[in-house]
């Protein structure tokens, strides 16, 4: 088994979950309605929980005797391999829901495939997370439809969110030599299969939402290689504050 490649693969998934969880958590106390405040923070908790399981596995693969907190709190910005998509600011509620929808629609088929991976621990995490992700996708896609096919104002905002975020969705399907190796060894799904499934969901939901898919092919990438947008530094300074200020603290 190619442990270095798998480590990178698992680390990316953990970072995606952690950073999106952190972003969603920013809505705590600021949701447009109480129910949504609770929903977004519940989803944030699921994501952080998934990140813990994934980091635990990454630590094993890395074999350097670190623990999940060290990976989550004590790396530098360029060591995080999350998507640019998940670090984008919450914006308005439409922006948050569209960001969530693009991500959930990617995670669902990814977990469905990974559930059958011969890498046992990864399959177990996928099996567990898949059940939660079904609820996440249901929640985000229903909001995308309600906002897109809602009032003139909500439609305008939802379409603006699609137009803004679309450039970050290409990176969902980033792959390098390591990924190709893992795919050829049958350890992880072919990204093209995940992409096909993602596209079907996106087309189906955006159509129902009367939202248009942008026709430009403008791409923003870099997160997967540790090159982040300006926002990432701000996220990390908040996320890592306690560990940096009080090393090894626990609660």
């Amino acid at each position: 088994m190619n442990e270095a490649a798998l480590y990178e693969y698992v680390l990316r998934m953990s970072d995606d979950s952690l950073i999106l969880g952190q972003r969603l958590g920013e809505w705590c106390g600021h949701g447009p309605i109480l129910e949504e405040d609770i929903a977004m923070t519940n989803i944030a908790l699921d994501l952080v929980g998934q990140a813990i399981s994934l980091y635990d596995f990454a630590v094993l693969l890395e074999g350097k005797d670190r623990d999940h907190d060290q990976l989550a709190y004590l790396r530098y910005e360029n060591e995080y391999k999350n998507l640019l998509l998940v670090e984008q600011p919450n914006g308005d509620f439409a922006m948050t829901m569209l960001r969530q929808f693009f991500f959930d629609a990617f995670r669902l088929p990814l977990f469905e495939f990974l559930e059958k991976s011969p890498v046992e621990q990864l399959a177990a995490i996928a099996q567990k997370s898949l059940k939660e992700t079904r609820y996440h996708l249901k929640h985000s896609s229903e909001w995308v439809i309600r906002l897109g096919d809602g009032t003139e104002e909500s439609h305008r905002r939802a379409q603006a969110a699609v137009d803004h975020l679309w450039r970050y969705t290409h990176e969902l399907f980033y792959e390098n030599q390591h990924d190709v190796e893992l795919q050829e060894n049958g350890l992880v799904p072919k990204l093209s299969d995940v992409q096909a499934s993602w596209m079907i969901t996106v087309q189906e939901v955006l159509k129902e939402a009367t939202l248009a898919i942008p026709t430009n092919n403008w791409k923003f990438e870099g997160g997967r290689e540790g090159r982040h947008s300006e926002h990432m530094g701000y996220i990390l300074s908040e996320l890592q504050y306690m560990q940096r200020a009080y090393p090894n603290m626990e609660w």
């Binding site: 609770i38 567990k128 609820y135 996708l137 929640h139 939901v205």
Partner: protein, 161 residues
Amino acid sequence: MVDSSQIRNYLNEVSDPEIPVLSVLDLGVIQQIYLDSDQWVIELTPTYSGCPAMQQIESDILLKLNEKGINNARIKHILSPAWTTDWISKEGRKKLLLYGIAPPVDEVDKKTLFADGPRVSCPKCTSENTRMVSLFGSTACKAHYQCRECLEPFDYFKCLK
């Protein structure tokens, strides 16, 4: 010397901190209990990945066993097979209902999108004329419902499969 069934009995006294009427056994999160060299291993399947109650449950279990004079126990996490609401015991379902939480109903729905929420009976008046207010309730495992007959707002323990 205690045996594993005795330990299992002790765990009846450990409840879910969020839903205190349910013991960890009712909840179905306890799997095998066995002796590994000189340590008792309690296998625990988490409900939701991020459920904050799980950590509390773990320390409550160890605390309870300690109270019973067993201080050589540890928790082992089991991720697969993943926990499902099917594992909540019959007894647990009754307790939920009496506590005012509608127990999970079988949702045949495997299609994620555009599916209607399940028909859930009101725990207060048993009417099926209820509506889902929010898919996410006070905790990740619950959805928020309201009864249209008696107007009671209530939690529904979501089906997780």
